[in-house]
């Protein structure tokens, strides 16, 4: 095999070392940094956009939850408002009824009292007129004028006796 003949070993090793050294230098200096950084940049970009997507998703989820919570509280609030409104209406109704009843009571009472008063007054009037009438009759009967006071006294006595004997 020609490869095992050592005639060319020295030149092959020498030129291999030189060539490899040059290639290593050139790639190290001019190729690898650019390729590596482009690679890293792209990886970073992909990772960033994945992160961002994740962030957006969690943000959306958070918003949804918030919205749902809000909806929930709003429903509860509406219920509460309705309940208080109902209660108030009921209370108002009750109050009105009570007041009206009381008012009616009061009016009835007033009317009764007035009637009683009128009746008494009418009775008094009748008594007074009856007294005068009796006096006139007595004067006419006696034909003689007594001292007014005496007359009245007799008359009152007579009337007293009359009202006692006569039940109302």
């Amino acid at each position: 095999m020609p490869q095992f003949e050592p005639d060319f070993f020295s030149s092959l090793i020498f030129w291999e070392v030189i060539s490899f050294g040059i290639l290593l230098f050139v790639l190290y200096k001019y190729a690898f940094p650019g390729i590596l950084s482009a690679l890293e940049e792209r990886e970073k970009k992909i990772k960033d956009s994945l992160d961002q997507a994740e962030q957006h998703r969690s943000e959306a989820e958070r918003r949804l939850k918030e919205y749902e919570a809000k909806l929930n509280t709003a429903g509860k609030e509406a219920e509460a408002i309705l309940a208080t409104a109902k209660e108030r209406a009921q209370r108002l109704l009750d109050e009105n009824e009570q007041r009206l009843t009381a008012e009616a009571e009061r009016i009835k009472g007033d009317a009764t009292r007035q009637i009683e008063q009128e009746r008494r007054k009418a009775l008094q009037d009748i008594r007074a007129q009856t007294t005068e009438l009796a006096l006139m009759v007595a004067e006419k009967v006696v034909q003689r004028s007594l001292v007014e006071a005496d007359h009245k006294k007799y008359a009152d006595e007579a009337l007293e006796a009359l009202s006692k004997s006569q039940p109302r």
């Binding site: 792209r42 990886e43 992909i46 994945l50």
Partner: protein, 106 residues
């Protein structure tokens, strides 16, 4: 091949796939075709090289140190065989680890 399944991947799947594509996940070295061929070629040479080195060392001891021919060569070949088998065992083990790792990652 996962790539040809016609269904929408889940988000996690998509991410891991995107990462794998960029070399974060499954390494090219674990690509079954290349790894398999590579291993097959590797193991034969390793066994042979160890045998040659063992035999060569034994022969050198025979010829230059102890003049004990042929025992140096025989013992050297036995040791060489043992070394070869150990290397093969080691590379298979390493390969197995790599395969396990990639399976665990998926």
């Amino acid at each position: 091949m996962v790539l040809f399944k016609l269904r929408t991947p889940s988000r996690a799947e998509f991410c891991s796939r995107a990462l794998a594509f960029r070399g974060f996940g499954m390494a090219p070295s674990q690509d079954p075709l290349y790894a398999g061929l590579g291993q097959a070629v590797r193991i034969g040479t390793e066994l042979l090289a160890a045998l040659i080195v063992g035999g060569g060392l034994g022969w050198a001891i025979d010829a230059y140190l102890l003049e004990s021919a042929p025992w140096g060569l025989v013992v050297g070949l036995v040791f060489g065989l043992a070394a070869g088998i150990r290397s093969v065992y080691r590379s298979v083990q390493r390969w197995q680890e790599a395969v396990d790792n990639s399976n665990n990652r998926e």
